[in-house]
Amino acid sequence: MSIVLSVRGLKKRFGSTTVLDGIDLDVARGEVLVVIGASGSGKTTLLRCVNALVPYEEGSVTLEGTEVYYTAPNSGVRRGDRQLARIRGDIGMVFQLFNLFPHLSALQNVALGLKVTRGLPKAEAQARAEHWLTRVGLSDRMHHLPAALSGGQQQRVGIARAVAMDPKLLLLDEITSALDPELVGEVLDVVRGLAKEGMTMLMVTHEMQFARDAGHRVVFMDAGRIAEAGAPRDVLGNPQSERLRKFLRRIELRTE
């Protein structure tokens, strides 16, 4: 199995606060790796370091062997704007608050990266955007502005925008946390479909049921470290640490 994402000794501090305290992590092609943990445990920061939305100073993040933020692992030399942009184009990201471009229609949201980053001709970008919007069930909403869409629909546009780029890795950052409960299902169904087709994913979520049945591996983060990792059945069904047991109890209580 080939490794798509490799994280080694990743540390991140904000001022005097250590948010990531030495993360080692591999994601294999086609793998769905689910990251869980209490708020403040560093899981969102981990995701944001992967596509360098947050710069990291120590350790290494490589996508198919290419260091993301620096010209080489531990070189300390930052990549230029264009180089970094090209690498980011290969890493899709779906955001908790969707972050759709409010001045563009659903179709334009999806087509923008295809046109500008991938350099596809307009017609081709449009066709590909239409294809993906149809895939996420929005064929009748393509020309709507984000403000005219429900939260679930907006997030499906967000997913289409990310996967249309044909990324090597898809980052999903608590993508259902801002949704009304009845809209969560439609979004997770889309993700389930992508997982089945072999999309490589690194996903932060509080949806334990989803982690159990769609995740290949679960990582529990605590205080900037990976505290437990393994098959969902083991990590979620047979937690080893008191911290994880406590965390799971709190989550279960919330969802029941």
Binding site: L53, R86, M93, F95, N99, F101, L112, V116, A162, M165
Partner: protein
């Protein structure tokens, strides 16, 4: 009074065109300069941001008339020889740019940071992020204060008459010098300035409505 105004009109044409030229140059020049410096101030490192901030704050703290005289009399001392016209235009552009920098910064910073992140995540470069994502949204917040500043520029252009440029204001003075009837001429001048700025206000309201419609 009306007779005096009608008599004066033919003598004001050239000055009026000069006023329009000064206003147009100032608006365009300050827009380009303010846009570049405003973006640099918002996104650039402190080493770039600090001098820009100092420039914007200083220039806005100087009375415009002082600025015009400083450029007009100061530049020749530095062996830069500008005609009165260009000296006055340069001073006005610098002054206006100070305002545009602030307006740009305010408009760009009002865009949610998630927009920049989303634009990064689909692989756009810095310039592409500005062009396709940030500026199209910022323009809606930029327009109302900027149009205000444009009408200010038109009014401020009257000060170029003080360094001997024959603009609308100066042309009016010259006619008064012949007729010794100041009131009708100043009223006429006021009406012309009002007409120009009213036209700008109407245009701005149309623009705002158009951008409000495209960004819900």
């Amino acid at each position: 009074m009306i007779d005096a105004m009608i008599y004066a009109l033919p003598f004001l044409g050239e000055g009026f065109l000069t006023t329009l030229a000064v206003s147009g140059l100032v608006v365009a020049g300050s827009l380009v300069l303010g846009l570049v410096l405003g973006v640099a101030l918002t996104f650039g490192p402190a080493a770039i941001g600090w001098p820009i901030r100092a420039f914007a704050d200083t220039i806005r703290a100087i009375p415009l008339i002082v600025l015009i005289f400083t450029v007009y009399y100061g530049l020749p001392a530095m062996r830069v020889n500008l005609s009165p016209f260009w000296a006055a235009v340069a001073a006005l552009i610098a002054f206006k740019a100070g305002h545009v920098i602030e307006i740009v910064r305010g408009a760009v910073q009002s865009i949610h940071p998630g927009q920049m992140e989303a634009a990064k995540s689909i692989g756009l470069t810095f310039v592409e992020r500005l062009r396709y994502v940030i500026l199209p949204q910022a323009v809606r917040r930029f327009l109302p204060p900027w149009i205000n500043s444009v009408t200010d520029s038109v009014k401020g252009s009257a000060l170029v008459s003080l360094v001997g440029v024959i603009d609308l204001m100066m042309a009016i003075q010259q006619v008064i010098g012949r007729t010794y009837e100041p009131m009708p001429l100043y009223v006429l001048g006021a009406l012309i300035y009002i007409a120009v700025n009213a036209a700008l206000s109407v245009t701005s309201r149309r623009l705002e409505a158009r951008f409000a419609a495209t960004v819900a």
